[in-house]
């Protein structure tokens, strides 16, 4: 006679639909997880000289075997005035997961602009470099999946170049390649910029051998090396190509240039 309406209030608490709730999540294997990263390919490269720093990056943006666009810049001016960073003297290049790169750029740019607003002078590259390290380390347990290179001029006016890993380890260097074709470009740069494995002819044998002295390179020569490095990388890496964006930082300001690369 359970189906007969009794009219009496329920005894052991209300037993109505949608009231009881399970307290445990359903067990079983999850079918599909969400992976918050992707690799958008491409490569970047930076070389510092006596009174300049050159940064370069290709403009291809990929997802797997798809080319999303042939023009997505990886080089960003940091600081300066307004949304197009007028009068900036620092450049950030990011390669890896492009959405993280964009977020990182926006954070650093805001910080550098706030610094000038609060202190009345532009931030030095050394300070900016350390700040970038701290930003990256701040997300140590959910990292920005990018290899960053920061370029500018130090307080003595010499070319300054800093390179980073995704969690903020950083180092000042003469030259650095990052991204998909870093392994192709880096040994070429060792040889042509730092003259690695090159010796003075007839300077002896064994330990008497004199290493070829490292001389500061001329700007046009460096530019030629950068373009050579990228045309080589384009031949052998499918994620590199379409266009080459170059920024030259000098005391007069930042010059930006674009060179076409092969689209295949």
């Amino acid at each position: 006679m359970a189906s007969v309406f009794s009219g009496a209030p329920p005894q052991s608490g209300p037993g109505y639909s949608f009231k009881q709730t399970p307290t445990e999540a359903p067990s079983g294997t999850r079918q599909h997880g969400f992976y918050p990263y992707t690799d958008n390919g491409g490569s970047t490269l930076g070389i510092s000289g006596a009174d300049f720093t050159i940064l370069a990056g290709d403009t291809r943006h990929t997802s797997g075997y798809n080319i999303n666009t042939r023009y997505a810049p990886k080089l960003f001016k940091i600081g300066g005035e307004g949304p197009d960073n007028k009068g900036a003297s620092i450049v950030l290049s990011v390669v890896g997961f492009a959405a993280d790169g964009e977020a990182l750029k926006e954070r650093l740019d805001t910080i550098v602009k706030m610094y000038k607003y609060q202190h009345g002078k532009p931030m030095s590259v050394a300070a900016c470099a350390q700040r970038l390290s701290h930003i990256l380390y701040g997300k140590r347990f959910f990292p920005y999946y990018v290899h960053a290179i920061l370029g500018g001029l130090d307080e003595e006016g010499r070319g300054a170049l800093y390179s980073y890993d995704p969690v903020g380890s950083y180092e000042r260097e003469q030259c650095r390649a990052a991204g998909a074709a870093a392994s192709l470009i880096m040994p070429f740069l060792d040889n042509q910029v730092n003259f690695k494995n090159q010796y003075v002819p007839d300077s002896g044998s064994g330990h008497e051998l004199q290493e070829k002295p490292r001389t500061p390179l001329d700007q046009n020569h460096v530019l030629e090396l950068v373009r050579d490095a990228f045309t080589s990388a384009v031949e052998r890496h499918i994620e590199v190509g379409d266009g080459l964006q170059v920024m030259i930082i000098k005391k007069e300001g930042i010059m930006e240039a674009f060179h076409p690369l092969k689209q295949d």
Partner: protein, 205 residues
Amino acid sequence: MGSPFSINGGACVAMVGKDCVAIACDLRLGMQALTVSNNFPKIFNYGDVYLGLTGLATDVATVSDLFRYKVNMYRLREERNISPQTMANLVSSSLYERRFGPYFVSPVIAGINQTTGKPFICGFDSIGCIDFAKDFIVSGTASDQLFGTCEGLWEPDLGPEDLFETVSQALLNAVDRDALSGWGAHVYIIEKDKVTKRLLKGRQD
């Protein structure tokens, strides 16, 4: 454990010049990160043909011996040296015989064909697919780095001395950026009737 191709480490490169070819390899033998030997050449000579083998060291030894046997048998039957082109097809078919249980090696061939006098290089994957290249062939754990240095340094019609400098710089700078290769190098410059072998010291770390 990683891929069988990268347990022992090693690198090899071949290049074409004007009426000459070059082939070079590093000397390291390792067990993962531990270096076991710094005198493990990966280039083997079979008459007019030079064969570079990188990959699993046990297979490098086995395959090099297997081809010594096969080339000797060829020489006895044909009463002549094997040509680089014939050797390429022999390597290809021998590797494909093991299609479903391959030798973990990436071979490279360099030589000058004694009948035509033309330089010849080629490379293979571990199951015998031939890569006929007009410029250079790379293989081993430093292959990415070698692609970069070769693509950047190589140019057509290099003479024997310039080719030696180019192949040496390409190899040394490439292996210096690979933790599994290096510890010196062997370089062969092959001309029509002269072969020069040079030993390079390189970085010892």
